[in-house]
């Protein structure tokens, strides 16, 4: 190994890849075959955490940061004055295998700047994955970036070796895309997405008849949107996320607070704060849509185009819809329990199983570990001393904000890290 060269390349190409926030390594079903190396069949593992608290589970690098395009929001853009480097295919294979064998990582997340053209780049990404699978008998996790506008044939081949494929839509609105990435068309992004979705469906159907149908991207596809670069509303973002979930069967949509990387009049200037709280609120909303049975227009609509910053979206919804509360914990169905602010799905399950034995009062709830500090305003139990002052939404909000600053936020980001 030419250590110095590899070290330099790794520094450049890991640095350029870090703005992609996805680090998921779960959802695949690839098991270790023939006493090979690795297993991606279980929940992904975070082997470490960055100092900003994000999970490190994959070796996330670019194959190269040479690029023929000039997207304004991207560090790798052609006009940016940065050091450039490119890995050889074998170098990426060796790094991945050696990191994996030492239990540093769950696998590889390989992306790339675009050199020559889309297909030429995509072919190289595929070559790395193919080598890992066929020559190294590697069964760990592989996430390949789908290069916008790559051909259908290549997208088919990519899915044979990768566990997950993703194209980052980056700019949530078409007008924003025109402004910031004038060389790219919306269809360049959606073309590979559509192919991947169709292949996933095909696989599912054929699999029913022929058990040995080769796997196709078993962990599905995902995408990412940058938040706060183009003045879009939270409604714009979440409606387009909902669209991608439905239309392209996304496993996940990621939201990434824009980190200024250029002085450009079209963008927030360098040094402006990363909108992390806003990003967090978007994840909370995403979570409510996917697991708590909320519809997107309940949370965001023309009257409420943006999420509250001071309270989380579930509390915000409850405060606007006080006529649904209080909910009786002893009789309400799961769906309504899940809508009580401060109750997570785990608490909902605990309540449902504990109330089989007895009518629950506050003490029971505390004992089984249900946090009441905010929930108590929205529910009644088998206790006499429930909150009976006739409080309106504003008062409740005030009291909650006073007693629990920021604690809830931590809970949420923990939960997110768990499921990432």
């Amino acid at each position: 190994m030419d250590f110095d060269r590899i070290q330099e390349k790794l520094n450049i190409l890991a640095d350029a890849a870090k703005y992609d926030v996805s680090c998921a390594s779960s959802g695949s079903n690839r098991t270790n075959t023939n006493k090979g190396l690795g297993d991606a069949s279980k929940m992904g593992i975070c082997h470490s955490y960055t100092e900003d608290g994000r999970c490190v589970s994959l070796l996330k690098i670019l194959l190269t940061n040479h690029c023929i395009f000039d997207c304004a929001y991207c560090v790798t853009r052609k006009s940016n004055d940065v050091k450039r480097a490119a890995f050889k295919i074998q170098e990426v294979v060796d790094l991945t295998i050696n990191f994996y064998r030492r239990n540093y990582i769950e696998g590889l997340f390989l992306s790339s700047g675009i050199f020559k053209n889309a297909d030429y780049t995509m072919e190289r990404l595929i070559a790395v994955a193919k080598k890992l699978r066929e020559e190294e008998n590697f069964n760990g996790y592989i996430h390949l970036k789908s290069i916008p506008d790559a051909s259908d044939e290549l997208m088919y081949e990519a899915g044979l070796y990768a566990d997950r494929l993703s194209v980052n839509i980056e700019v949530p609105t078409i007008s924003g895309l025109k402004l910031l990435a004038p060389d790219k068309k919306h269809e360049d992004f959606t073309k590979p997405m559509l192919k991947v979705k169709n292949e996933l469906l095909r696989f599912k159907n054929e699999r029913k008849i022929i058990k040995s149908t080769p796997k196709y991207a078993p962990a599905g596809q995902s995408t990412q949107m940058i938040v706060g670069a183009t003045g879009e509303t939270d409604k714009d973002i979440m409606y387009s996320a909902t669209y991608y979930y439905k239309k392209y069967h996304m496993k996940r949509v990621y939201y990434s607070g824009y980190v200024p990387v250029a002085e450009d009049s079209r963008l927030p200037s360098i040094g402006s704060q990363v909108p992390m709280l806003r990003e967090n609120r978007l994840y909370q909303t995403d979570w409510l849509l996917r697991f708590y049975g909320f519809a997107v227009n309940e949370i965001l609509n023309n009257d409420h185009p943006n999420l509250d910053i001071d309270v989380d979206p579930k509390l915000s919804w409850a405060l606007r819809n006080m006529h649904h509360f209080p909910v009786d914990v002893n009789t309400a169905d799961r769906r309504m329990l899940a809508r009580i602010p401060g109750l997570g799905m785990r608490s909902v399950e605990k309540i449902v199983s504990a109330r089989r034995f007895r009518k629950l009062n506050w003490d029971h709830l505390k004992k089984i570990g249900v946090a009441l500090n905010r929930a108590k305003y929205f529910m009644v139990s088998d206790s006499r001393n429930w909150e009976r002052r006739d409080l309106d939404a504003e008062k409740i909000k005030g009291m909650i904000l006073q007693t629990s600053s920021g604690k809830f936020r931590n809970q949420y980001s923990n939960q997110l890290a768990l499921f990432n």
Partner: protein, 258 residues
Amino acid sequence: MENTKTLIYDGSFNGFLTAVFIAFEEKINVSDIQRNSHGQNVLFSETETIFTDVHKAKRVWNGIRSKSHNAITNVYFAFLSEAEGIELILYTYIQKLMASKNGKQLDYSDGIVLRISQLARSVGREKHRMEAFVRFQLTKDEIYFANIEPDFDVLPLISKHFRNRYADQQWLIYDVKRKYGIHYDLEHVELVSLNLKEVHFNKVHKSDAFLSEEYDYQTLWNDYFKSTNIKSRINRKLHTQHVPKRYWKYLSEKKETA
């Protein structure tokens, strides 16, 4: 009360299950169950020494399992917590479980049930942490070697995970605190005890047990870890919540801070 006894067992899980079997069979009023290494403290009751019997242990195991799969995991995990007095708590738990019609619907507002499930959860968390935080170093004789120092006795729980994952390399994970390890020789996993000259945590000093290439990869990983940080997003509190400081000394990416 009649037939009140303290049972002494050898510290193994099978030993403990045997004790449970004998207590049930002989209708002993158990005042405590203790490890023989414990320096017994049994002033007021008679003691009985239990000889581990795998068949008896197995019958208790199957009995618990037939009540609930979840319960058998809870019992095993909680046992490995090595918590003070865990045996008696477990014994009470098993009694409750056997008396229940359907072990699946355990009542979590019961103190014992809650305590067991909390302990089991802590042990489960430690198991996951170890699966994540083990850092192998390649020795000159081609064994991927790692030291760990977990809060609970989780080696038996992580063995399968590593065997599935690293089926084509020899590895050895050694618990420094409990002084035993598990070694996979490409065929089986076996328990080993070692006479370690030095504990290989990630100190900057290099040991001649490892190839120089090993240190190259550690450096690369260290670099990689550093370059994943986005400065404008730093959140140290969240970071140490995820990677508690007590694990740092074995993590090669934490080399400078150890």
